[in-house]
Symmetry: C2
Subunit: 513 residues, 2 copies
Amino acid sequence: MNGAQALVATLADAGVEVCFANPGTSEMHLVAALDGEPRIRPVLALFEGVVTGAADGYGRLADKPAVTLLHLGPGFGNGWANLHNARRASTPIVNLVGDHATYHAQYDAPLASDVNGLTRTVSAWVQTSVSASTAAADGARAVQAALSPPGQIATLILPADTAWNEALNPAPPLPRLEPATVSEANIAATVAALRNGKRTAILLRGTSCRQAGLEAAGRIAEATGARLLVDTFVPRLQRGAGRVAAERIPYFAEQIVEFLADLEQLILVGAKPPVAFFAYPGKPSWCAPQGCNILYLAHPHEDGTTALTAVADALGARSRPQCATLQRPGIPQGPLNQFSVGQVIAQFLPENAIVSDEGATNGLGSYMATAAAPPHDWLALTGGSIGQGLPLATGASVACPDRKVVCLSGDGGAMYTVQALWTQAREKLDVTTVLFANRSYAILNIELARVGAGNPGPRALSMLDLHNPEIDFVALAQAMGVEASRANTLESFADQFASAMAARGPRLIEVQI
Amino acid sequence: MNGAQALVATLADAGVEVCFANPGTSEMHLVAALDGEPRIRPVLALFEGVVTGAADGYGRLADKPAVTLLHLGPGFGNGWANLHNARRASTPIVNLVGDHATYHAQYDAPLASDVNGLTRTVSAWVQTSVSASTAAADGARAVQAALSPPGQIATLILPADTAWNEALNPAPPLPRLEPATVSEANIAATVAALRNGKRTAILLRGTSCRQAGLEAAGRIAEATGARLLVDTFVPRLQRGAGRVAAERIPYFAEQIVEFLADLEQLILVGAKPPVAFFAYPGKPSWCAPQGCNILYLAHPHEDGTTALTAVADALGARSRPQCATLQRPGIPQGPLNQFSVGQVIAQFLPENAIVSDEGATNGLGSYMATAAAPPHDWLALTGGSIGQGLPLATGASVACPDRKVVCLSGDGGAMYTVQALWTQAREKLDVTTVLFANRSYAILNIELARVGAGNPGPRALSMLDLHNPEIDFVALAQAMGVEASRANTLESFADQFASAMAARGPRLIEVQI
């Protein structure tokens, strides 16, 4: 048994079931070891940004880490941006980064780089195996680190000789760390705050955005009149019919300020105080009202759902809060825009679907329209780095093969990691991508004005424009084996989306908007 | 005048003419400033790996830096791998990385990350501007740093408020640092070594791989019988008819050992001692013969060409060495493979062409066949991180609009940064991509056996295989506005390549090999 085999068996023993991979020479022993480990499914992607984005989507749904296989520093570099998004989502991921053999490092061969420095910039936990004898134990620790609440990026660097040298045994799995318990004192303080008569909101993030947390929060809201809020970009929000609805904080700083203006008190459950996504000249970065009292019921690594339930019980809240009632909007008529598209999606979205939302300036319409659609999970772009949507949908579908995944994507973002479509075709994943082709980095046209960058001329505007040439997303998807069609009218979009929802397998609809 | 305007004017004064960009909100003032600076041409790419790879190609040909525009940590992360390749090529590049406003950093907004730590892992020089008043001077220093011999990656991080706050003036350009002069003593020692009767080779890298350096080295070789070598992957090699030919070091460790086996003495000119690309169990990493004496005539930051000329003069070498004579191979007959494809390329390659070679397992045939083709520049994949070829060709064409660029690419590598085709179409660049579609990470099938990873099963082999589904590169290129065709026979390839060489503009030929 070599180090790679001991490590891979350890990962499987620790519950790892999927490996998203784009391997190279330094990972060949890991590839061979995966070949002999039927408990781990290897999924090939054509680019490491797809690998890490898929691992993010998988982890958000599976609540456990996928393993990635990345080729030295450049492989990790290619995956960095979607690891950044995953870090912001608190997704558990174990990265395996092959590196040069320990004794080869001294020669500064072409692929050598500062892998340790690079991986540290986005990982919560980094370890370099120093020998084949320790690789398995390092792997067990990596899984434990990834699952450390609320979930984090763990990166194990494997010099090639630690994979190919002789090892002893796999290492036993380590216990899964549970979220910390919120103290009685903090629960009592929150209960007291909720009774002090101040205008209050509860801001949820993390696992408290799942059904149980939302129900507890809903009970509190009904008993006290507190508002229930979620961040603009929630890693995974359970919503739709039968679920407690929360208000979503808007995107732009001045909108957030207005949205929160009435608050005297804000209770955070796994969340941070709301701030502007970007700074703008003359606009606030801190968006809570001056003097608004901020309480932390639960930090991200603490069990917010149990704490919310305890608070609700202490308040004597009734046991079942009001939930959204299923309401299909009907097939809309009229122009094709993000709101009518959203209504079509709400009309045909199957129960228990998963939505990967990188719709950018065209995503809000679908979010709004699906508030009373059948229950579903909504996955947002958490770190602001575009190119997450398609890979995230890919990984979510691997985690939940029996659930329909709908991916909303802008054209600019889609082109970052469009290679994800190939993996969807290869794995026959049940993902429908709704691609909003507005031929623009549309948000930047808004931002250019908002930052006060003056009256943009044609050269500036050309750097935000995707018209020249127009990308044919139908041909692009078909070239990678994904069935695709184009919708120029609302009627054609409704037909195509309905047919995609009724069928299985990967599909792309280019919406000319 | 704001900080962005002062900076952009400074860059233009320092000779910067091109900005490869994928901007975001934090770079909007830079975009606006570029709008008002006619001396700098903005070139949009759909992904930052294209941005940095294009900057590499531009710098290799222009001998001065392009500027990149990258969006915070994730934008830099996406560009990291091709910056790694550029670092290995000693290409001058100035990265401008927009970051959150200084006062916004405290809020840990979603796009915040360890930009400083990240940029340091691949940059020789990193500076964060602390105010709008210093941004211009920082920019002048960045250009000087990028041009510090032999050329390096300089990264300037610009918090958004340093771009939008009021600045004073542009900063004056700083003097360009010249390569250091090789000492008389070192030249004398090299001359003595070349006269000691030992079996000797001279290994060239950097600017000594240009015509003047090769001629000086050729004179020495003729006068002394020394072998003339270049690395497997040279950033820019001037070769073909009228140029002095050098032997290329082979790729695999055991081949290198055999190739160098007769040497008693190795003289390095801007090069490092030859080592294996990867370590393999039981194979050497250090590839020079035991006891081979290694001399450094010139380090990379030193003027190797002048030193070589001084050595040649001291040896009394005749003034004109032998050069390759133009020889077109004729149009070959027979099966379609990398060697016959190479002959077609050699037959039709126009004078003064540029070849961007990421042909991987199919690149050697073209390299061999073009030894006596019209003079051309050959650009190799320097850092081993695939996904360089198409962006490099893009940037080379921006630097040299009047020269034909031929890009050799494997299918696996092409899919890393295939978005480069869109920029080629948008800018109407004269690039012909020859895409070798073998439906495989073919090198890995070789490496899997070479590393001794056992008898690979179907799951292992599937992770190296690109058949399922087969990517239609013709459709992919056309979807991004690039004229494309497919060659299944040598005859059809010859027809298509000849027509591409006779025309202008972007073109892709998928070679089914």
